[in-house]
């Protein structure tokens, strides 16, 4: 009986409890599921707050997203649209979600995935950016602020969003979008005249200079303008534009950028309307000389430079094709230039074969004014910033004063707007009357931002001037005089010696060696040799040192005479024993060159020290050079 009571009571309690739990479960489950659903689709609810748990969030797969950056669209009838799209940020592909309501307003924006620079591109995921979107019209979101300094990321965001809007308007709002061809046709009328009849006449011309099409705009009675379709290589890709020139005045009457893949926010600004309007009435000469206004605050020298170059070529083409102007050939131009920088009607004779040409000089020409040789022209090449194409120039020297009287660049493939400026007329002018000494000292315009190109030019000029001095001024660029060293210092390197005699003149000149001494003992026997050398380390001044080989012990020794090396960084590295202090000349590292043999130095390379690799690397190199020299020249038997 007792057991039955227990079982019955337990059963009743469990039953009642189960019924209660069951009812509550039935009541709360839908609510909990709703909440969980909302959590799982938080981003969607965030960008379209009108959403409810009962809405279907199935992506509609029936649309074609080609040409947009959209990856998904969800249509919620009567409430709005949720787009997921992506674009290239500065360092990463950025994925975002944006919601539109049915009234054409943005309801929310949320960055889902990004890997851009913290503090710059990564700011796109922050609240301050996304909070600007709700309530903004999809057709004008220009007041959304980006972040100065992260134009690529924020510009990309705006560009991507406008593609989404275009897709949205044409797909859901019934807005008929202009096809690219229609837009181009409209533009051609905009930059010429309304109702223009456009006729393609490309076939009548030999196209060059990036021109892909030539068309006439006819007003119904006569051709009034010519429209060129031109492309050029910008910074990131090909830029294509159309430009119209009036057939009466031959001035520019309009320009439109057709395709532009330049960096968003940088080179891409040439597509801005404010930039293009300046071409509405531009004198031909301004287009020819690249007198165009850059977009305020923009810095895109490569894109602008390439555009200016393209315009110059185009105007020249137009002049020869429509204005009957004969554009000189390349060879004619070179000949004209050579006359310009020397004398008119010059008789130019190639005398290259009379000389051994070095240092990039590949042509030497004498300029005769009819009676005497007045100048010499050197044609020379050097490598500038572009490693695959040389820059070729020619330079004229007066044969009386031996100063420079002119300079022209024949070929160059340097960066437009930067290194390419060395081919500008404005750059040539400084050479019209340049002292030889200034050319040697490199006193020429550095061209800010193109110092690699101008640096290459300076080095080349020094070579040419030296060549000229040797060949035309009879100067012998000989071996420098030895530099004397006190016996007291020499004794530091070879303490056993008594007398030191310079044997510098007996051997081949080597730039690193300032002097060579033969050391003898009291019995007048040769005990060794001492090299007085110098090398450029990291410090401002050369390191001067003595390096000796002891013929008796067959070992070498090094003495540092002076140095200004910054050796501080070395102690941060475990492999350098800095116990002897942080001075280079007392560093234990130098022991690598002490007490060992020349053979060891030549066969077993010494390691540089991390942190001071410039100094130690230079030192190793010069000692190895001297050791090799000692062996090659067989000085004192070579060991």
């Amino acid at each position: 009986m007792k057991h039955i009571t227990i079982v019955v009571t337990l059963s009743i309690v469990v039953l009642v409890a189960s019924v209660m739990v069951f009812f509550v479960e039935a009541w709360t489950t839908p609510i909990i599921d709703d909440y969980n659903f909302e959590q799982a689709n938080l981003a969607k609810f965030e960008v379209l707050p009108l959403l409810e748990g009962s809405d279907s969030l199935e992506a509609d797969l029936s649309y074609d997203f080609t040409g947009t950056s959209i990856t998904e669209v969800i249509v919620i009838p009567g409430k709005g649209y949720i787009y997921t799209a992506e674009f290239q940020g500065f360092q990463s592909i950025i994925t975002y979600m944006v919601g539109f309501d049915t009234n054409g307003n943005i309801t929310g924006y949320k960055t889902l995935i990004q890997g851009d620079t913290p503090g710059l591109g990564a700011e796109i995921a922050k609240d301050w950016y996304k909070d600007q979107f709700p309530g903004v019209s999809i057709n004008d979101f220009s007041e959304i602020d980006g972040l100065v300094g992260a134009t690529i990321t924020f510009g990309g965001s705006a560009a991507s969003l406008s593609k989404v809007v275009d897709f949205h308007n044409s797909t859901f709002e019934g807005v008929v979008l202009e096809t690219p061809a229609e837009k181009l046709a409209r533009w051609k009328k905009e930059i010429t005249i309304d109702n223009a009849v456009i006729t393609d006449v490309s076939g009548d011309y030999t196209l060059s200079g990036g021109i892909s099409r030539i068309e006439f705009a006819n007003d119904g009675s006569k051709d009034v303008a010519v429209i060129y379709t031109v492309d050029f290589e910008g910074y990131a890709g090909i830029v294509e534009y159309i430009i119209a020139l009036d057939l009466v005045t031959n001035d520019v009457i309009g320009l439109r950028i057709v395709t532009n893949e330049e960096t968003a926010g940088i080179g891409s600004v040439i597509s801005e309307e404010s930039f293009q309007t300046q071409f509405d009435a531009m004198l031909q000469i301004d287009a020819l000389n690249g007198n165009i206004d850059e977009v305020a605050g923009s810095s895109a020298p490569i894109t602008y430079g390439a555009l200016k170059g393209s315009l110059t070529e185009l105007i020249n083409f137009h002049k020869s094709a429509f204005e009957g102007e004969v554009i000189e050939t390349f060879n004619e131009k070179i000949l004209r230039w050579k006359n310009e920088i020397t004398v008119d009607n010059a008789i130019i004779t190639d005398v290259s074969l009379d000389y051994t040409l070095t240092d990039g000089i590949y042509k030497v020409e004498l300029v005769n004014n009819g009676s005497t040789d007045v100048a010499v022209i050197y044609t020379t090449e050097f490598i500038g910033y572009n490693p695959s194409e040389t820059v070729v120039y020619f330079i004229a020297f007066d044969l009386v004063t031996n100063d420079i009287i002119g300079f022209r660049v024949m070929y160059q493939s340097e960066t437009p707007g930067l290194g390419a400026k060395i081919a500008d007329d404005s750059y040539f002018v400084q050479f019209d009357d340049l002292l030889q000494a200034d050319a040697l000292a490199g006193n020429i315009d550095d061209l800010a931002g193109a110092t690699i190109t101008t640096g290459g030019l300076k080095t080349s000029l020094v070579d040419v001037v030296n060549f000229h001095k040797v060949e035309f001024q009879g100067e012998v660029i000989g071996i420098p005089d030895p530099v004397e060293m006190s016996d007291a210092n020499l004794l530091l390197a070879l303490p056993d010696a008594v007398t030191f005699t310079s044997v510098y003149g007996d051997y081949t000149y080597l730039e690193d060696i300032l002097n060579i001494y033969e050391a003898k003992n009291a019995a007048d026997e040769v005990v060794g040799y001492i090299y007085y050398g110098h090398v450029k380390g990291y410090g401002a001044d050369n390191i001067e040192f003595l390096f000796s080989t002891d013929k008796v012990t067959n070992t070498v020794e090094i003495v540092i005479l002076n140095d200004t090396q910054s050796w501080d960084l070395a102690d941060e590295y475990a492999n350098y024993d800095g116990s002897a202090g942080l001075d280079f000349n007392t560093s234990t590292w130098l022991e690598n060159f002490e007490g060992t043999t020349l053979q060891m130095l030549l066969t077993t390379p010494v390691d540089t020290v991390a942190g001071v690799s410039t100094t130690t690397g230079a030192m190793i190199s010069v000692i190895e050079t001297i050791a090799q020299y000692h062996t090659d020249e067989s000085i004192g038997g070579g060991n």
Binding site: T9, L10, A17, V24, T28
Partner: protein, 212 residues
Amino acid sequence: MPRREKSIREIFSNGLLKQNPTFVQFLGMCPTLAVTKSVESALGMGAGVIFVLVLSNIAVSLVRNYVPKEVRIPIYIVIIASLVTVLEMIMKAFVPDLAASLGTFLSLIVVNCLILGRAEAFASKNGPLKSAADGLGMALGFTGGIVLIAFFRELLGAGSITIWGSLKLDLIPELYQVNILVQSAGAFLVFGILVSQINKYRMNKADRNEEV
């Protein structure tokens, strides 16, 4: 002398102060420390305990005369566990964020010694009305206790007092917050100091009573 029957009011205030579960009886210490990071979660936990304790006390009191002695504990546990499950589902449905912040401790109300303790010590011997009063008093005492701890932890540790959702007062700037107090370890510290101070007060009062 037969003990005088306590009035409902006495029963209620007994739990609230004299036999405060948090500071005097040290019952249900796990949630006391775990959910006192913010006043909001302490209030939520308190509400949950009020719900479960009052209902479980009433239910136990109602069935007290029909339950065989041998199986009373399992039956109490079933009742309490069912109530906790109901509470859990209701909170997940209507205050999901709070339910998430209480986490496992919501389920752990089942093993809160306070609930089973009151069922065994009071509700199994008294009528439903008194049991409800006892449950309410104890649960309010518990709530008061954990809210007090949470008040100090959140105020000094996070510089704010969160009553409910966005109803939040920011009082102390970040520079002056003692962050350790809202971390796990800080719970021990704040609770320990509060207990010692309450002990001091009670002991002084007891001393005075003796002197009289």
